[in-house]
């Protein structure tokens, strides 16, 4: 039986009346890179926010490292988050701090290391993402890909055991995207982390991930290794993997009859 770092059991989540996720069961084994894929707006980022405890499930449980996230108090939640690195979609760098200070923020906040050691640690992390030379730049001077790499260095600076990536490839050019992909894999393997990648970039994830879940219509419609998913015949999985415009996920947003709308 694999040792799972994250377990979502019979999990449901709704915004008021609108159900986003329904009876989801999802396990993330330690040391693996797992992709959570699906069409836009299906609730992938909601899964990430449920794992970090920013949102609470309406039903079911979220367990991280054997601890139930939804029943944690504020103190324990923050304690758990110190062991999680999160790369948000736009990097979310602090715009009033330079690259060095951005990466140093978690170190300064959670440790009492001397300044010389903080400097060494930050430079090592920036070297790993190829941006040691950009140490004095401000976030406004960075390209989208560079900002994402600085954010990755910041998220991993305290060597967390779990890394969560929210759409890490969105808006990046092919060079930037393959750089981030390589860094996700290298960081995961070199530091013995577990990585969860929220994305809709099918081809890239089929290359990178050890295992993948596809979410659509409020539930998990497909899961398995990339090879197993390619052989999946569920029309919702096939539509998503092949990028078909129309199918179980319709092209048109639900609307009244067009003749009635146009001709009155």
């Amino acid at each position: 039986m694999p040792d799972d770092l994250i377990k979502l059991t019979n999990l449901s989540f709704a915004w008021g009346e609108k159900v986003i996720l329904k009876d989801i069961n999802l396990n993330i084994p330690r040391g693996s890179v797992v992709a959570i894929m699906g069409p836009s707006g299906v609730g992938k980022t909601t899964v990430l926010r449920l794992i970090t405890g920013q949102l609470l499930p309406t039903k079911g449980t979220v367990e991280v490292d054997g601890m139930c996230v939804s029943s944690m108090n504020h103190k324990n939640l923050y304690k758990m988050r110190r062991n999680i690195g999160v790369l948000l979609q736009n990097g979310a760098l602090f715009t009033d701090l330079d690259v060095f200070e951005n990466v140093a923020v978690p170190v300064r906040e959670h440790t009492n290391l001397p300044e010389a050691l903080i400097r060494r640690l930050v430079l090592i992390k920036l070297q790993a993402v190829g941006l040691r030379g950009a140490v004095d730049l401000m976030p406004s001077e960075l390209s989208g890909g560079m900002a994402r790499r600085v954010a990755l260095a910041r998220a991993s600076v305290l060597d967390p055991s779990l890394m969560l990536y929210d759409e890490p490839l969105a808006g990046l050019d092919p060079i930037g995207a393959s750089t981030i992909l390589r860094l996700i894999r290298d960081t995961n393997d070199a530091m013995g982390m577990t990585s969860v990648v929220i994305t809709h970039s099918v081809e890239d994830m089929m290359e990178l991930a050890d295992y993948a879940y596809i979410i659509a219509s409020q539930s998990i419609v497909g899961q398995g290794t990339p090879e197993q998913l390619r052989e999946n015949t569920d029309p919702r999985v096939v539509q998503f993997l092949n990028g078909e415009i129309d199918g179980p996920v319709p092209f048109h947003y639900p609307a009244s009859d067009i003749h009635q709308d146009l001709l009155g």
């Binding site: 970090t52 920013q54 923050y78 304690k79 988050r81 110190r82 999680i84 999160v86 948000l88 979609q89 736009n90 979310a92 760098l93 602090f94 715009t95 923020v105 978690p106 906040e109 959670h110 910041r154």
Partner: protein, 258 residues
């Protein structure tokens, strides 16, 4: 039915905002833990929101003093009481105009800046990133700005009053030709430490708490969009002005009553 809902919203929404603001104020107070990080962050904010408001406060103070002197002189001359110009000027400034006008200028200059900055941090997920790094954004972002505002406003108010007195004195003595000894002498004999100077201090302290809180609250709970940030900055000025004027009346009643 929809009209009933809309009427209910008109009652419940302000109540919900009031409840949220009370909870947020408690959250701010609970997050204040004196340490070196807080001291550094607060001093940086005192510079950003206090020191950078100096020019506007000084210019406005000087001109308010001059115009107040001119208006008083015109009216008092009808009764042959122009010697009292200094008294009228000082009492108006210490008791009302100093703290009130400084608070209004502060909310326009620094309050909007605080609300926009925090709102933008929310829109660009910087606050969310902090939470995910197990850093409390209220402690690291809101508290230093709030404390800096509370410290800065009384200091700015004193400066405003000082410059207004200087402006008034310049106009009265050099242009109106009032004897400087009479001007300053009447002023000194009529201003009392407890009822005038301390009233000015307590009012500016209260306005500092109000204006700073409204600014951080508006920014922190803004809708994270361009439109939302715009509304947060407008709300900061409008709500601060209304609350400051209401609280000004209440403090005046309280302090003149006892």
């Amino acid at each position: 039915m929809s009209k009933t809902n809309s009427n209910m919203d008109a009652i419940t929404k302000p109540l919900a905002t009031l409840g949220r603001s009370v909870l947020f104020f408690g959250q701010i107070l609970a997050a204040i833990r004196p340490d070196l990080k807080l001291l550094r962050a607060t001093l940086a904010q005192v510079y950003f929101i206090g020191a950078r408001s100096l020019v506007i406060i000084m210019i406005c103070g000087f001109f308010v003093g001059m115009v107040l002197t001119l208006q008083s002189y015109v009216e008092l001359s009808k009764f042959g009481a122009t010697d009292s110009v200094g008294t009228v000027l000082a009492l108006s400034l210490f008791r009302e105009l100093g703290p009130v006008l400084t608070a209004l200028l502060f909310s326009g200059r620094a309050g909007t800046s605080i609300a926009a900055e925090i709102g933008l941090m929310k829109a660009t997920e910087q606050l969310s990133a902090m939470e995910l790094m197990a850093i409390d954004p209220v402690k690291r972002v809101v508290v230093p700005r709030f404390i800096a505002g509370v410290i800065s406003l009384p200091l700015l108010s004193m400066l405003f009053t000082l410059l207004a007195l200087a402006g008034g004195a310049t106009y009265a003595i050099n242009i109106m030709g009032i004897d400087s000894g009479i001007f300053w002498g009447n002023m000194v004999s009529s201003v009392e430490f407890q009822s005038d100077f301390m009233m000015s201090f307590w009012k500016s302290l209260a306005f500092g708490i109000i204006a700073s809180f409204i600014a951080v609250f508006s920014g922190y709970f803004t809708t994270p969009t361009g439109d939302g940030i715009g509304r947060a900055t407008t709300q900061t000025v409008v709500v601060s002005a209304v609350v400051v004027l209401i609280v000004d009346f209440l403090i005046t009643v309280l302090m003149t009553w006892t």
